[in-house]
Amino acid sequence: MTRWMLPGFLTIGALATLVLIVGPAIYAISLSFFDRTSLTAEPVWVGFDNFANVLSSGAFWNALWNGFVYAGVAIVLQVVLGIGFALLLHQPFRGRALLRGVAFLPYLLPTVVAVLTFKWMIDGSLGIVTIKMADWGLPPIYWFETESAAMFSVIMVSVWLWTPFVTTTFLAGLQTIPVQLYEAARVDGAGPIRRFFHITLPSLRPILTVIILLRGVWMFNKFDVIWLTTGGGPLGATEHLPVLAYREAFRLFDIGTGAAIATLSFLVLMVIVTIYFWAFPMDDRK
């Protein structure tokens, strides 16, 4: 028993990894080399045809670009806002503990709930935002229905939902910086802005590197906010790779094309992550 426990654990672990992760990933990639007209139809080997078709379609490049815009802008906003909120929550004031909890709440909401609540708030006739804007004499905005506003709106919802992740991790990092560093800098005459750029940011660089990586990966793969608000529309203005892959695989029942898009999006992500690791090496000694 004693001798076999660890190997037993590891065998189960290896099996679970194979079945849950390695298997499906390999299967997904292999699906992208086949063409099947339906789920029950016999798959036909088509080589790289699916990839060629995807790469030569305008929809793919549009979706890739939209994905970069969506993920890029959302990360920048989340990081800037998150750092700002964390700095605020690091100051001593009454009710700070409570506000730290409150600032975390959006992160807990299921995406569906957040999206539905925003949709209700901006409802065309009864939403609080619509009514208030009309009261103040502002022109109505069709948040998810116009090409110019849709991308802005999906980014806003995403930023609201996931900024607390940055706030909380950055705040936890702030609490590890020795107070003496700040005192020494103050004695040397450094103002708050210099203290931020010369002490806070360098001290938290490792945390920030990881936060940006994780949030970037997740935002690039995020499907539900866009699907539930605009469905990729209007006219593909917010369609990114996850939505495109889903639409091909489960709405047009072209599993091969959907798998090819998902595989390509994973490859794109790997390239970006590799460059990121090269540009910002992680300190592994921690």
């Binding site: 590891l10 299921p110 569906v112 539905l116 945390i207």
Partner: protein, 280 residues
């Protein structure tokens, strides 16, 4: 001199409280609006909204429970989330413990495999899983959803517990084994009790992921009987008769367990996020 310093300090305090107020309103208002709307009467929903509901009514909740499958969806969500948590715990404890305690080649493969699994687009897993499930006749079942959720929660759990077990000194178990414990006994009586904070964190995040999931449910579940709450709520919006009061009531009910868990266990949430961020 000293008055201007006082003024400056007072202005600083003022800015601080103003910032705190903005952050509070920004974070809480949509959530408040959801809860408040769920308690408004149908008539009040159609009029110019006031900040506070003029009268609190449970009508929306009654109509939600009577006219939709909400209870069933809630039960489905609960079954899926609890099963996911249980299997995540069992698998990730075994893998993480095995990897930290066993000398072997290639264990780095398991750990880095977990890290890459973090980066998989959920759809890259959903598409093959759906095909596999439909081949073996498991499609459109709660079990298929649990398995799908495990593809996300298990890597997370292994990654987190690996960092946790790694820091736990081997001497603890060795001492227990010298005192006559078997390895399993040492594991169950010494290692696990000391790991409770890490285990709670993993359980919370597995629950959060499974409970809030929409993507996998959308792909895997087709029949009304097997819908989870996020899927059920989303399909209410497409319905002909759009009832925002009911939808907000359903949203409040599904968010409530998460808020309660957060109030009771907030330090584990923070710990999980930061450890994930530092190590992941």
């Amino acid at each position: 001199m000293s008055t201007s310093l006082h003024l400056k300090r007072a202005a600083g305090r003022g800015m601080l409280y103003l910032g705190a107020l903005i952050l509070a309103v920004y974070s809480i208002f949509p959530i408040y609006w959801m809860v408040a709307s769920s308690f408004r009467s149908a008539r009040e929903m159609l009029t110019n909204p006031t900040l506070l509901p003029s009268a609190i009514t449970l009508d929306n909740y009654y109509s939600l429970l009577e006219q939709t499958d909400y209870l069933r969806q809630f039960a489905n969500s609960t079954i899926v989330a609890l099963s996911t948590v249980f299997l995540t715990m069992v698998l990730s404890i075994m893998i993480a413990y095995g990897v930290t305690r066993q000398r072997m080649r290639g264990k780095q493969f398991i750990i880095s495999g977990m890290l890459y699994a973090y980066m998989f687009p959920p759809l890259l897993l959903a598409i093959p899983l759906y095909s596999m499930f439909s081949v073996i006749g498991l499609n459109d079942t709660l079990l298929s959803l649990v398995i799908s959720h495990l593809t996300i929660t298990m890597p997370l759990g292994v990654w987190f517990l690996w960092g946790f077990f790694k820091t736990m000194p081997f001497e603890l178990e060795e001492a227990a084994m010298v005192d006559g414990c078997s390895r399993l006994g040492a594991f169950l009586r010494v290692v696990l009790p000391l790991s409770v904070p890490g285990l709670v964190t993993v359980a919370i995040f597995a629950f959060l992921l499974s409970w809030t999931d929409y993507v996998f449910a959308l792909v895997m579940i087709g029949s009304d009987a097997n819908k989870t709450v996020p899927l059920g709520l989303a399909s209410m919006v497409g319905a002909f008769d759009l009832r925002w009061g009911d939808i907000m009531a359903g949203s409040t009910l599904i968010a409530l367990p998460l808020f309660v868990a957060f109030i009771a266990l907030s330090r584990y949430f923070v710990q999980g996020l930061t450890a994930g961020a530092i190590k992941g």
